[in-house]
């Protein structure tokens, strides 16, 4: 009895030793830097100086007084809302139609998954060219005023145009998750609903949707998080312009840190973002664990 216990212990120790290097690396590169990041947000460090002073909450006070911070927060929220609506609606429609395919199901599914495998900046640069070279030609040919020039040019259209590009990519993942959810719905439910004379919409409303609800929540939270932390699409497409119209909080942080040399202020901004994203992550964890026990 004792012998097996010891064996178990030494086995565990070996396993632990194997994880030691990743644990150390993770601690060093992640935990330590996060703690340092939070620490710097209470200082006046400019990113270069060897000495810096602790100034308490002053960075946060400056931040909350700064109209550009509120503007970027507003832009980020708007961005996330548009992203969520775009992604959830599109991926829901896409997954239902893909799921009802009779032939070439796997092939079609993989084609729709391709955008998820291309890097964000690459997609942004391709769409940048489309917005500049292709869409205005179409707009002029059809006589549509708002499409006759690049959509990224005016403050009103730039934000939706950037969101559209991210939706184009972000739809792939939720679609796959939705398809997995759809496949769990037993066929008998649809059959009996049909026998009872339910229309296609009623079948969706009363059979598909209730079964799909947990999946919707997961996708919802994932997409909101994606929206709040978005940086690559707006940065590569517009750089935050025109006139701060697409300056999401990620771009504000980057500019303050590396362009304006105010690292401590940028750290404070990042901490605020961290709190917001953490709240959403906790919600997601709660929701998914609940879904698991039900």
């Amino acid at each position: 009895m004792k012998g097996t216990n010891r064996k178990k212990m030494s086995g565990r120790l070996t396993f632990f030793l194997f994880t030691l290097i990743p644990v150390i690396l993770y601690t060093f590169f992640y935990v330590v830097s996060v703690i340092n990041g939070v620490r710097y947000s209470f200082t006046d460090w400019d990113g270069m100086a060897q000495k810096f002073n602790f100034i308490g909450l002053k960075n946060y006070q400056t931040l909350f007084k700064n109209p550009y911070f509120w503007n970027s927060l507003k832009t980020t929220v708007l961005y996330s809302i548009m992203l969520v609506i775009g992604v959830i609606v599109t991926s829901l429609i896409l997954s239902i139609s893909l799921n009802s395919l009779k032939a070439f199901k796997t092939l079609t599914k993989s084609i729709y998954f391709v955008p998820a495998m291309i890097g964000g900046v690459t997609i942004a640069l391709i769409w940048d060219q489309l917005y500049y070279r292709v869409l205005p030609v179409i707009g002029k040919a059809l006589g549509i005023g708002w499409l006759s020039n690049s959509l990224l040019m005016t403050g009103k259209t730039a934000l939706p145009a950037v969101v559209f590009v991210q939706v184009w990519q972000a739809v792939a993942m939720p679609t796959v998750i939705f398809i997995a959810g759809l496949q769990q719905i037993p066929d008998e439910q649809y059959e009996s609903a049909k026998i009872d004379g339910a229309t296609a919409f009623q079948r969706f409303r009363y059979v598909t949707l209730p079964y799909l609800l947990p999946t919707v929540t997961v996708n919802l939270v994932l997409t909101i998080k994606q929206g709040f932390t978005s940086f690559d699409f707006p940065y590569a497409l517009t750089g935050g312009g025109p006139v701060r119209a697409t300056e999401v909080i990620g771009i504000l942080i980057y500019n303050d840190a590396f362009k304006n040399m105010r690292f401590s202020l940028a750290n404070a901004e990042a901490c605020v973002l961290f709190v917001i994203v953490a709240l959403f992550s906790l919600t997601q964890l709660k929701l998914t664990s609940k879904g698991g026990t039900d």
């Binding site: 070996t14 400019d46 700064n66 917005y131 005016t154 025109p242 304006n260 040399m261």
Partner: protein, 415 residues
Amino acid sequence: MKKKFAAVFCSALALTSTLCFGGTALADEPLKIEFFQQKGEEGPQKGYKAIIEKFNEENPDIEIEMNTVPDAGTVLTSRISSGDIPVIFSDFPTQTQFKQKVANGYVQDLSDQDFLKNVNESSLEMTKQEDGGYYALPYSRNYIGVYYNVQMFEDNGIEIPTTWEEFTAACDKLQEAGITPVGMHGKDPSRVGHLFQAATVAWAPNGVETIGKVVAGEATIEGDAEFQNVFEKMSTLLSYANEDALALSDTACYENFANGQYAMTITGSYAKGTIQSINSDLKIGIFPLPNDTYEDTKCLSGIDAAICVSAQASDEEKEAAYRFLAYLAETENAQTFCDYDGAPSCINGVVNDDEGIAPMVEMINAGQTHDWMASTINNNVTTDLYNVVQGFWADKDVEGVMKNMDASIAVTSAQ
């Protein structure tokens, strides 16, 4: 079995790590010195490469290794802040960020070095730091100017304009001929900013100083006659430009210009190589953005990436670095660089034989220049002004933009 495997694995790991760290210090190897170089363009890179190759050959005990990365300014900042300063690096000695680096003791004082005597005086003076010392070897000048398509100018019988009146007349003539006179790119606020800086220097002789006063709370832009002039002229300029200026990135604009869609484009010395690489047959010339009279025209010109030495390098490394800097400052080598780079050199005796940029060189040599705003005004303030001017490109509201500039400076200078 498992234990054995783990033991072998661990000892293998330990062995490789000692091999990695222990194997570097071999005798008789040349001293490797990193040269962190900020210019991403092809011309200067080739120039430096040619000089480094020659230097390494003549100095077998030193090996200079050039390192150029994308987004070099950001990388250099983060390397410096983490204590990993390259022994030799290029930087912009007239900018406030550089002054921070000097104040923090990251950059070596070069005031006593003989090679600085080869630098022409006006360029050297620009790099003087607050303590009166010189911390960089200025190598070439940058500038913002009007690039023009020589063939188009000849076809339409247009001479290089030296005054604003001649400039608008040239634009009218081109427009009548069905050519878009000026290609402008405003998608990236920082590119709008470069034009804004050039315009301020050209059309508002005290403009940069006025902004400085506004930052200090001693003046306002609103009601300033010089800035009124700047934005009225800019509005005229925009009326001669392509409609989609705000949608255009710099490279797209250069492509269009190189392919003959515009007769002119306004950009910096940094664009020359790119434009020529798009269409190597294109004959281009560059002239300063003209003001009402030639005599009171100033062009925006600063010190391009100058060469600095880390103050935290070892004495041996510093000695090697000085030798390389002295080598760079020799007229013959600076000439090699200038031939590749194409920008006016800061080293005495170097001749720029590019006819196309002669009007630019003439003005710079005559001292009719003004440095970039970043030399006196905080980046934080200037980059937000870029956004404000980008807004002006969209609505062309002269009164509005001046009010917005005041508002912007009030926000950014308060932080």
